[in-house]
């Protein structure tokens, strides 16, 4: 076999230390180790490391690990169901009946609203070029008339006489 350390094929070295070599590969590698000092040293170092790693004992898991895990699961399940119940209660308050039958009606209303919106005429400009001065003057005259009418009404009130709308424009 090719020398693993010379050819950087260290997988067989790892497998040997881990006891994963099949019978034939193990025989070939063992035979190679008899003649290759570099691989022999490397294999010995790897096996020593393997034994050291084997000796590493770890703290066992806490006895209440499962209980705490199930408590977290239950808490999550409860908060999820609480959230869905909360949303449900809100929708029930504002929509005490099922909203599903309303969908067709809502669609019809939306269609009508769109149709009405499209039929509203464009707002007429306040004045056109031809109407402008005349319109303004007409408005001005009307305002003066109204003002005079209001003054007449005040005066008549002070005199205690009921106001007659037809007399407002004569003064």
């Amino acid at each position: 076999m090719r020398c693993p350390s010379a050819n950087d094929e260290l997988e067989i070295l790892l497998d040997h230390a881990a006891g994963k070599l099949n019978a034939q590969a193990a025989r070939e590698f063992t035979a190679h180790l008899q003649v290759c000092g570099a691989c022999r040293d490397l294999a010995a170092a790897q096996q020593s490391l393997w034994k050291a790693l084997d000796s590493l004992e770890e703290t066992p898991i806490s006895p209440d690990f499962n209980r705490r895990l199930y408590a977290r699961i239950e808490a999550e399940e409860n908060s999820r169901s609480f959230a869905s119940r909360w949303v449900g209660s809100l929708t029930a308050r504002w929509f005490p009946f099922s909203w599903r039958p309303l969908m067709p009606a809502a669609a019809v209303c939306a269609t009508l609203a769109a149709a009405l919106f499209l039929q509203i005429p464009a707002p007429r400009p306040l004045m056109t070029a031809e109407e402008g001065p005349v319109q303004i003057q007409a408005q001005k005259i009307d305002a003066d008339q109204v003002e005079r009418a209001l003054d007449d009404l005040d005066m008549l009130k002070q005199l205690g006489t009921p106001a007659r709308p037809e007399n407002a424009g004569s003064m």
Partner: protein, 209 residues
Amino acid sequence: MLNDAQPSSSDRVSKDMEAVAALERDAELMIRVREGDGASFALLLERHRGPVHHFLLRMVQNQPVAEELAQEVFLRVYRSRGTYEPTAKFTTWLFRIATHLALNWIRDGRRERGLERLDAVLPDGGNRQVRDHRPSVEQSLVREARLGEIRQAIDSLPAKQRAAVLMHKYEEMEYSQIAATLRCSESAVKSLLFRAYEALRARLAHFAS
């Protein structure tokens, strides 16, 4: 001395068959969990909580954090039960979650906080027990110092090398499964392992003598 005792081929075949059967059982159990069977989840938990916890403990070197992360692993398994598909081995998926959580924790630099002291009180109210196989106090101290060196050597590895070594050594995963867990190629896994073991051999060379 070199240990030439490799398992016989029949031993390896029966071991492989047992491993395959275990994997199939895991997938079957998880499918039952998907269908709402809580007892199957409990079985999976009992089977895998130890290895997951030990893996995380060796990754983060902090007992309370390791337990917290282990809980998070199984919580995520439970949350994902509805969409589980046995496209990969269950243990691959499980250790992928565990590795992801551990790497995140290490990256976030929380390892500086809260290194557990030997006299710290465990969550169950007990004290950390230091197992003592030797009759004398001196030998016990030497053993604990040695174990501390091993832990430090593992801890000194870059996070991905550490994860690869732990999965290869303690979970006895094949290169292909480690690659699937770490989402990299097999050649990348071998490269990680070769460098990691080389670093460990150098750091713990005095153990051989």
